[in-house]
Symmetry: C2
Subunit: 293 residues, 2 copies
């Protein structure tokens, strides 16, 4: 009954973390990175990342087989005091507004905890990943959202216990279409107040009636009011609206999200996924708890 | 794109809620039922309940096809102001320490919200179900635990935002064996201080190293220290220990829980399930978000 990885043939551990496409956000900076973060709302998606951690002499990160530098992942492993081979399978493209750096950071934290038998709680690991993501400058709210799953509403910014969450109940088929990334830090540094003002307004409207149609409506208002809408994203959204559908922008990417078949019925060829109800979890860990003794 | 149930052929909605078998608990009563509750820890199980809600003239509750009185469900529907046919499929027996009254209450809240398009948030619905369960006197911590999924640790008692949660990371095959129920109110009224004292002690040890083996160890200590262990449950636990395994008691039932194959290797014929990573969710709702327009 020993949970020590050294006692098993396969010491690797695997975690799944949903992608998170943000519709509404605010920007809150604090000297304490665990209190930095974002209020807002987004969709956790079944199209996510699996992260496999295998203890190694030095840390390496492979994303879909390619060596890739992911600062948030390096920071997680440093913070936990481990070195490992990190193998990521990602179903959506990096750097396009799907929160994948945060998802990889959280998956690395969960899988390292299991593979090295570190004995941290879920909240501990969410905090480690959130702080790594904030310090890497690659995100503010994706880690806590992906940890919860569903359609998380970030009521207060930061990692637990500072950050608090609610959620929009419901299930939906989701279509996403992306043509790449936007430079996150530049936009956030240029006009954080304008973003936060629009974000607070959209969030207030959403909290008044937290449904999926209202989420999309207020995401659309937020994209318009912040000036974050790019020309190519606007063209796709308007094409969907011309055929009677609804769509909005995934922040921060040149990415459009819609429910049901609204993108495909407008003639696009989107990635089809669903809202992921469950949030991040361990898929496999060294085997005291599954195998016969 | 109307989410109104009256616009679709099938106005019913279905939710899934995991069962929750409690290992450690404390008792906290407050004049405000949303602040009443329990600290402690348990396992959310894939063997849970599905709850289908169909609007009707008067409320009826069927559990596995049988008309059944479930006060917590009636209170949820009253609280939400709706009448419905409630059809529950339950994979485990009621009244045996699997938190099914809380699961049915939460599933009724989630499915009613979807079926009647009520526009509540997840936290709103968790509070409605928690209050219904507390007022019915059938549970204190199952609703918030089943909402989260995994192996929830109840850090503070009550519904959100009062109650706060953490979790033990990890996945495991779970075996459970039950021979029926214990009278919940009698035990809780007779010796709440002794239970709470033992629960606080076990929870402190668990929080020091929140792992699944430690959960089982401290659940065992809690069952011993409270005097809640019944003779037949103790016999099963000792039989498992005699074959080198570990098991503890599911509160409050004549129920034994173990990881891996520890019950079956000791010669018992348990129900086999797993930790449910995701918590409660909507499975189906009236169809604006899935069907082609």
């Amino acid at each position: 009954m020993s949970p020590s990885p050294s006692s098993t043939g396969s010491p690797s551990a695997t975690a799944f973390v949903p992608a998170h496409v943000t519709g509404i956000f605010t920007v809150h900076r604090d000297d304490d990175p665990s209190r930095s973060g974002s209020r807002g709302a987004g969709l956790a998606l079944e199209a996510g990342v699996t992260v496999e951690i295998t203890p190694a002499e030095t840390t390496t990160v492979l994303v879909n087989g390619e060596p890739t530098a992911v600062e948030a992942v390096d920071r997680v492993l440093d913070s936990l005091g481990v070195d490992a081979e990190v193998e990521v399978d990602a179903e959506l493209p990096l750097g396009s507004g799907f929160g994948l750096s945060g998802a990889m950071a959280l998956g690395s934290a969960l899988a390292s905890n299991a593979g090295f038998d570190l004995g941290n709680s879920e909240n501990d690991l969410i905090e480690v990943a959130h702080v790594a993501e904030v310090e890497a400058g690659t995100g503010l709210g994706d880690v806590v959202a992906a940890a919860r799953g569903g359609t998380p509403i970030r009521l207060e910014p930061g990692a637990p216990p500072h950050g608090t969450l609610d959620g929009i109940p419901g299930t939906a088929r989701v279509e996403v279409l992306t043509s790449g990334g936007l430079s996150t830090p530049a936009i956030l540094e240029d006009r954080p107040e304008r973003i936060t003002e629009a974000g607070e307004r959209a969030l207030e409207e959403l909290l008044d009636r937290p449904t999926l149609p209202r989420f999309l409506e207020q995401s659309r208002a937020f994209a318009r009011d912040t000036g974050l809408l790019t020309e190519d994203v606007l063209e796709v959204i308007e094409a969907v609206e011309d055929t009677g559908g609804r769509a909005s922008m995934g922040m921060l990417g040149r990415t459009v999200m819609a429910f049901g078949t609204d993108l495909s019925e407008a003639g696009f060829d989107p990635v089809v996924t669903r809202i992921h109800p469950g949030g991040a979890s361990i898929l496999e860990e060294p085997g005291w708890n599954d195998s016969p003794r």
